[in-house]
């Protein structure tokens, strides 16, 4: 597809979508969003790129293969659950720490966030694996 408007638009929108997806992922615990929605938005961003320009170009910006993303995501999800075992808790219990950062002051970080990152990665991987394969001929 060679639409100048779309290409230019996509260049501008895709980074915003990716940024937004990360925001959804991080804020998901307290506000609307989460790994699933975030992952979908990110995947949509890459799809936009692939539609506007070219699948191969989109694939290049992805750096990792979708299959690798899926594996990585599952690994994250699994690891997040294992931490609890070391603390003597049942598998997948959430562990929480409070971080004191200069600007955000108190931030609570926990293993469910790692789990959510896993969800995020798996969702991106699965969506792109199917869509990009369909687009490549």
């Amino acid at each position: 597809m060679n639409s100048l408007f779309l290409q230019t638009g996509a260049r501008a929108i895709k980074p915003l979508m990716l940024l937004f997806s990360v925001y959804l992922l991080l804020s998901g615990h307290n506000h609307p969003g989460g790994g699933f929605a975030g992952g979908l938005v990110a995947a949509a961003g890459f799809c936009l790129h692939a539609l506007a320009v070219d699948v191969h170009a989109a694939r290049k910006t992805l750096k990792l293969q979708p299959s690798a993303l899926i594996g990585l995501g599952l690994l994250f999800a699994l690891i997040s659950g294992i931490f609890a075992l070391f603390a003597g808790l049942p598998l997948m219990s959430g562990l929480w720490f409070t971080l004191h950062l200069p600007i955000f002051e108190e931030v609570k970080v926990g293993t469910p966030l790692i789990f959510d990152i896993g969800v995020y990665l798996v969702v991106i991987g699965i969506t792109l694996m199917i869509i990009m394969n369909l687009m490549e001929d």
Binding site: L24, G28, H29, N30, H31, P32, G33, G34, G35, F36, A37, L40, V41, A43, A44, C47, L51, S67, I70, G73, L74, A77, L78, S80, G81, L91, M92, G94, W96, K108, G110, P112, L113, F115, D116, G118, V119, V122, V123, G125, I126, T127, M129, I130, I131, N133, L134, M135
Partner: protein
């Protein structure tokens, strides 16, 4: 005790690695482990002989009453000694017999794993643990029989053994669970105390039948005897170990173990004794017709197992003594003869007894082992075999009720044993052939060490019958009888009927050997009936199962997406509607609420888009309409305060439309395939589904299902999980294991889709 079972398993895992380093030495070094186990159990002999069983328990699945517990009494000890002792010799023998084979490391793996499983079976102090080890022996046996996996014959035999013993294993599991249910425990020592209660129990007969199904399949009793001779496709070390002295004795072990609690009833006597003696007769007939070394041994093994089963079925003190003595005797001589048969075939590449001869001078050590075992098998004094045979006769003569029939059967068994003993231990070694076997040579020490040692043991134990009775047979009989019974073994019992029978046996056996050729011709005559045997039934059953599974797969998994969707939606609509109507719960529509204008707008948008999707002739339009339906639904979410859902739905709809477009792009032009009837049928179904979902939604408004859980989540979300977005907290924290499962399912589905897409592409590439 746990370590003695784990050690073979551990070695099994390491064996392939170690073998690459050790090469030819591996047989000798691996044998150290079973040898150590053997010595450990030997050291337990005095304590067990004193009547003090050992019990060790480790917690496992306590909530189900399953523990990893081990129980060592006389019976277990006898078996454990046989398994580890013969096992050590077999491992050495394997090194010599298969040492040059490239895949021998796999053989070691399966063999050692089998050894651990078999030890587990006989030492388990818990019914469920016993069952697990029991199944492990079936699986390892499958691997061992199918070792020569490039041969069709070996694969078929392995599968047959697995299916027959595995089927029996299922029956056994049911029996064991029923038994646990009846007695209220899975703990074997406790069950052993509850014999009277179990015999009176209403479930006694089902339990008995199921246990017997397990034991008879495992121990190749009629009508399941056919798998054992076929299993001779296994390499000789496996046959010598599994199919003569150990695995097939697992069924015997089970019968003997249950004898104190299940035995001594009419059903037990009739089923076990008659099953055993039938096996004896059938196997005797089949053995007399054979000339192939290993097949001869296989049929006599079936016969020997039948003999022990018969004795257990009779269940008198004499009979139990005979069973345990014969068990020991048989394990010693049969493993020996198998190894001898393997040695002969290894050296001459011949399998037919009639073609063998004159090997006595060429293979002196093998001949020695064969002679010792053959004499024991034939039941010649002073070998232990003589004592075994005498006690069997005594058991038959003293049996209540069916004395004549049983004694005659036992006589037949003994004659066949003598006949086969002559055919294997005498014929190949001490007769002369017209053309001497030129390539024959004595194998290396690993090949004849086992036969010589085991054969001698049969002689040595025969010289010290008192000690054997006191330390080995006595405790085993006590465990089988459930009480201490004075056991004495001796050669000389005076001039009695048993002695007379022994003399008759020898005479008949030698006669049968002398006139074996006319005898075989005579026995071949009814051979035309063979195809009607139980093996035919097995094949029929397997074919039938394959046929049914093929049919039902074609019916249910037909590959048409529309049929799947049709079926799924039909059931989805029909079943709940039936429940609703039958339960009288068809909800009354609530009062017509007042609408806001934008709500009406959304409703029209959704309905219009849906109708549009159904009516259009263009696929693209249909997809876009579907997308519009989805967007409409996400608008609903927004207005009713579920921004999470709305956002997700929005992105999903977008991506779905994208995928649809990409797929449609590849499809051929739109054409009308469906008939009018199908169209109306689908319309009806779709309309039904819509109505049903509406009804369900209205019903759901009225029903309050367990409000506690959602309240609980809402209340605990912040304090327990530090999150205010309940949906997300549930997904990643409260129900994270579920989410994990969903992630896995998604990943697998994506891999499947990926595979299908790639498949298509690769095919295209091939065409170009």
């Amino acid at each position: 005790m746990l370590y003695t079972i784990l050690a073979p398993f551990l070695l099994a895992v390491l064996a392939p690695l170690l073998h690459h380093r050790l090469k030819d030495l591996s047989g000798w070094l691996f044998a150290l482990v079973p040898l150590g186990v053997f010595l450990y159990y030997l050291s337990q002999v005095p304590q067990i002989a004193a009547g003090e069983p050992v019990y060790q328990s480790y917690a496992w699945v306590e909530s189900l009453g399953i523990s990893l517990s081990f129980y060592l009494d006389g019976l277990s000890l006898l078996f454990a000694l046989l398994i580890s002792g013969i096992g050590a010799l077999i491992v050495v023998y394997t090194g010599a017999y298969l040492g040059q084979d490239v895949n021998v490391h796999r053989f070691y793996l399966a063999l050692l794993a089998f050894m651990g499983s078999m030890l587990g079976v006989v030492l388990s102090g818990n019914l469920i643990t016993l069952f697990i080890f029991w199944e492990l022996t079936s699986i390892t046996s499958y691997l061992l029989i199918g070792y020569d996996h490039h041969k069709q014959e070996a694969r078929t035999a392995a599968l047959q053994a697995l299916l027959v013993t595995g089927g029996g294993g299922l029956a056994l599991l049911a029996g064991l669970i029923l038994m646990g249910h009846a007695t209220g425990t899975y703990d074997i020592p406790t069950i052993l105390q509850s014999g009277d209660m179990l015999r009176e129990h209403a479930l006694y007969l089902p339990i008995l039948l199921l246990l017997l199904a397990g034991a008879f399949t495992k121990s190749a009793q009629f009508p399941f005897h056919f798998w054992l001779p076929n299993a001779m496709a296994a390499p000789t070390p496996a046959s010598a170990y599994l199919h003569s002295s150990t695995m097939v004795k697992a069924g015997i072990y089970l019968l003997a173990r249950m004898q104190p609690v299940m035995g001594d009833t009419p059903p037990w006597f009739y089923l076990v004794a008659i099953g055993g003696s039938l096996t004896l007769v059938v196997s005797a007939y089949l053995a007399m017709r054979q000339v192939i070394l290993k097949k001869l041994l296989a049929y006599t093994t079936v016969g020997a197992l039948g003999l022990i089963t018969t004795c257990l079925g009779i269940g008198t003190d004499y009979a139990l003594k005979a069973a345990m003595t014969f068990l020991l005797v048989h394990a010693l001589y049969k493993a020996t003869l198998f190894m001898v048969a393997g040695g002969i075939s290894h050296s001459t590449h011949l399998y037919d007894t009639e073609k063998l001869g004159g090997l006595g001078r060429i293979m002196p050590f093998t001949a020695l082992g064969a002679g010792l075992a053959g004499l024991s098998m034939a039941g010649i004094p002073p070998f232990l075999g003589f004592i075994g045979k005498e006690s069997v006769y005594e058991a038959g003569l003293a049996s209540p009720g069916a004395m004549l029939w049983l004694t005659l059967t036992l006589l037949l068994a003994a004659v066949v044993n003598l006949f086969v003993g002559l055919l294997i231990a005498w014929k190949p070694f001490w007769t002369t052939l017209d053309a001497p076997l030129s390539e024959a040579h004595e194998g290396n020490v690993g090949l004849w060490l086992g036969p010589v040692l085991l054969g001698s043991l049969g002689l040595i134990l025969g010289f010290i019958p008192g000690t054997t009775a006191l330390y080995i047979v006595g405790p085993a009989v006590a465990a089988t009888a459930g009480e201490a019974i004075p056991v004495s073994l001796s050669h000389w019992h005076g001039f009695n009927l048993a002695l007379l029978l022994s003399v008759i046996t020898v005479a008949l056996g030698i006669l049968a050997y002398r006139f074996r050729h006319p005898l075989r011709r005579l026995l071949e005559a009814p051979g035309r009936l063979d195809p009607a045997g139980p093996e035919r039934g097995y094949h029929r059953l397997v074919e039938g199962m394959l046929w049914v599974s093929k049919k039902q797969t074609c019916l249910l998994q037909n590959g048409y997406l529309r049929v799947y969707i049709f079926t799924v939606i039909s059931f989805l609509v029909a079943l709940p509607i039936y429940t609703l109507v039958a339960g009288g719960g068809v909800p009354i529509p609530p009062e017509w609420p007042s609408f806001k204008l934008y709500e009406l707008g959304i409703a029209f948008l959704i309905a219009g888009a849906a109708i549009g999707a159904a009516c259009t002739n263009s696929r693209l339009t249909a997809v876009v309409c579907l997308g519009a339906v989805g967007y409409g639904v996400s608008l609903v979410y927004i207005f009713y305060g579920a921004p999470d859902l709305a956002m997700t739905q929005f992105v999903i709809e977008t991506l779905t439309v994208l995928i649809f477009v990409l797929v449609l792009y590849r499809l051929p032009r739109f054409t009308h395939f469906t008939s009018e009837f199908v169209k109306y049928r689908d319309m009806l179904l779709a309309g039904g589904a819509g109505v049903f979902v509406t009804i369900l939604t209205i019903a759901a408004l009225k029903v309050e299902i367990a409000p506690t859980i959602s309240t609980y989540f809402a209340e605990q979300s912040v304090p327990m999980a530090h999150g205010r977005n309940i949906v997300n907290v549930i997904l990643v924290d409260f129900r994270s294991l579920d989410t994990m499962g969903e992630l896995l399912v998604l990943a697998i589905a994506a891999l499947g889709a990926y595979g299908l897409l790639r498949l298509n592409k690769d095919e295209k590439k091939d065409k170009v």
